[in-house]
Symmetry: C2
DNA sequence: ATGAAAGCGCTAACAC
DNA sequence: GTGTTAGCGCTTTCAT
């Protein structure tokens, strides 16, 4: 691989001139441009970004820390982030934390050593001092990390309220709230939204906590459904809703006739299920894209106009709730 | 951030000694170790891997190029790769190619500039010279790129045969093969396997080509199902199968009673569908893990014992086919 | 408008 | 055992 000195020599100029040419800064004659460009072409020269990083302290990697990319919530986010990163010349490094603080810390450390320019993080539970005294920018997605850290997310409480009210409007009287792990911001907020919706209403509710995993959800939902008269489920994520659908199916409970279900997130999974899942959709792509844009601004030293972006959630009425009720 | 010189100064030794300490090479006294270790501690020093890379020409990033991380086939692979990368001290860079050669080339170029140690690639259609004359290692997953490039994948033809025969054994007489894009290795192989299975059998078959997308599959399947007597579908991926399930549902066709479906891949999606999808499962995690291991060996200059690894596919009989038939 | 040279933080001869 | 020093490939003053 040719280096900048080779180019300079071949072009008959100094490395400084080549560098200026490369970075479009400082004066440089048309002649020099021509001859340098030719030399670069001929040698098939590509500047080493490692050397550049070392010299400038600038980096072009973005660290993306998510609990588990296998959870259908995250690929869409990751995709958006990657897309905007690409257009700005950044590259994204994928990290799965499994919600473990140690893994998060590990990534934070090693990636800083590798000159990552910043982080986008869907953090685990939020007692996270290791995030606050980083000396590179960071933005949170989905889950709040610390008041000082910019975030883009949806209004989970409001979304959950809307989702639950759809169940109510559709005539559900015995509603199960399959809530996510307590202590996890979005799960807590969605639960609050659920309570907002049912408060004061003459309906029976049941609340069960469930990790964000399909199998757990299926099991828990089956147990609850077996023992009773549930006619509506508000699930805190699409995956949980999918588990509930499976449970209902195995018990011979018809969806949406006997049981209506609304999920949360609006992942691909929701639309690919049969019947397709009514869900409170977050605009995952937008969240990811905005977070990436935000981080890049931070990296490049620009001021943020907003440090907290709320994306509205939107109820997508599909086949697991009865549309006649509308 | 402290650098190696700061550490050396504080420890009262030379940078060379510190470097030796850091890399565990060359002789170094216990005394020196102690004092250096203390200095590192005190300064909270972390070596710059960028400087190290520049100096050694070694890198610790692995580029992962996939068509689209949103396709449920890839997150599981990515997860496995990330897991083994982590244990060997590597970090994975995520790239979505959208099956576009230009994007692949772009990533290949920029990542090499950023000192990526190697690539794992699920390539698009295989007229891919840009892969063959790379000067860093590369391994293919799922799709063959070139005879010279190591690959880990499953035996798609055999898997498809087994999947199709399950339909046959279950009494299907009118089978639709929802095949993937022709020209795409695995899709072609699976189609071959389908043909192997039905050849000479007294059954009616129909073959339709379909991009690996849910909506396309749903539409195509609906069209075909409307016009006739299909009682079995062999789909070339779980996503395609999911589309077919949705189509059947919307037409009021019962699965598996009136229509049996088998998918391919064994993604999470397959198990999360209702009814859960009978599918020819690839061990995605294993594929990813082996590919990563292979690449790291290559990076570290070790010989490969095998350059082509075939992972057996396994038929997972679930709820979209009738088990009584067994 | 261009070049010389120092420096980014580390490694690896080579000398002692 | 340890230190000196010359790179690695680039950027960036500072001269000219």
């Amino acid at each position: 691989m040719a280096n900048i000195r080779d180019v300079a020599k071949k072009a008959g100029v100094s490395v400084a001139t080549v560098s200026r040419y490369l970075n479009n800064k400082g004066y440089i004659s048309e002649d020099a441009k021509r001859v340098i460009s030719a030399a670069i072409e001929e040698l098939n020269y590509r500047p080493s970004l490692v050397a550049r990083s070392l010299s400038t302290k600038q980096a072009t990697f973005i660290g993306l820390i998510v609990p588990d990319i296998v959870n259908p919530f995250f690929p869409e986010l990751a995709r958006a982030i990657e897309d905007v990163a690409l257009t700005y010349g950044y590259t994204v490094v994928l990290c799965n934390s499994d919600e473990k603080v140690e893994k998060e810390i590990h990534y934070l450390n090693t990636l800083q050593q590798k000159y990552v320019a910043g982080f986008i993080v869907a953090a685990s539970h939020s007692e996270a001092d290791h995030y606050t005294n980083l000396d590179i920018p960071i933005v949170a997605i989905d889950r709040r990390i610390h008041p000082s850290i910019p975030i883009v997310a949806t209004d989970n409480r409001e979304g959950a309220r809307v989702g639950t009210e759809h169940l109510l409007a559709n005539g559900c009287q015995h509603i199960l709230c399959l809530r996510g792990p307590s202590g996890l911001g979005p799960a807590d907020d969605r639960f609050l939204g659920f309570k907002d919706a049912v408060k004061g209403k003459e309906i029976e509710t049941q609340v069960v906590e469930c990790p964000f995993h399909f199998e757990a959800s299926e099991m828990i939902a089956r147990t609850v459904l077996q023992q009773g008269s549930i006619d509506g489920i508000f699930a805190s994520s699409d995956v949980l809703a999918a588990g509930a659908m499976k449970a209902a199916y195995s018990l011979g409970i018809g969806v949406p006739d006997q049981l209506q279900i609304v999920g949360y997130d609006g992942t691909m999974l929701a639309s690919q299920l049969t019947p397709s899942l009514t869900t409170v959709a977050q605009d995952l792509y937008k969240i990811g894209a905005l977070a990436a844009r935000m981080l890049i601004k931070l990296i490049e030293g620009q001021e943020l106009t907003e440090r907290e972006i709320q994306i509205p959630a939107e109820l997508l009425i599909r086949e697991t709730t009865r549309s006649e009720a509308l």
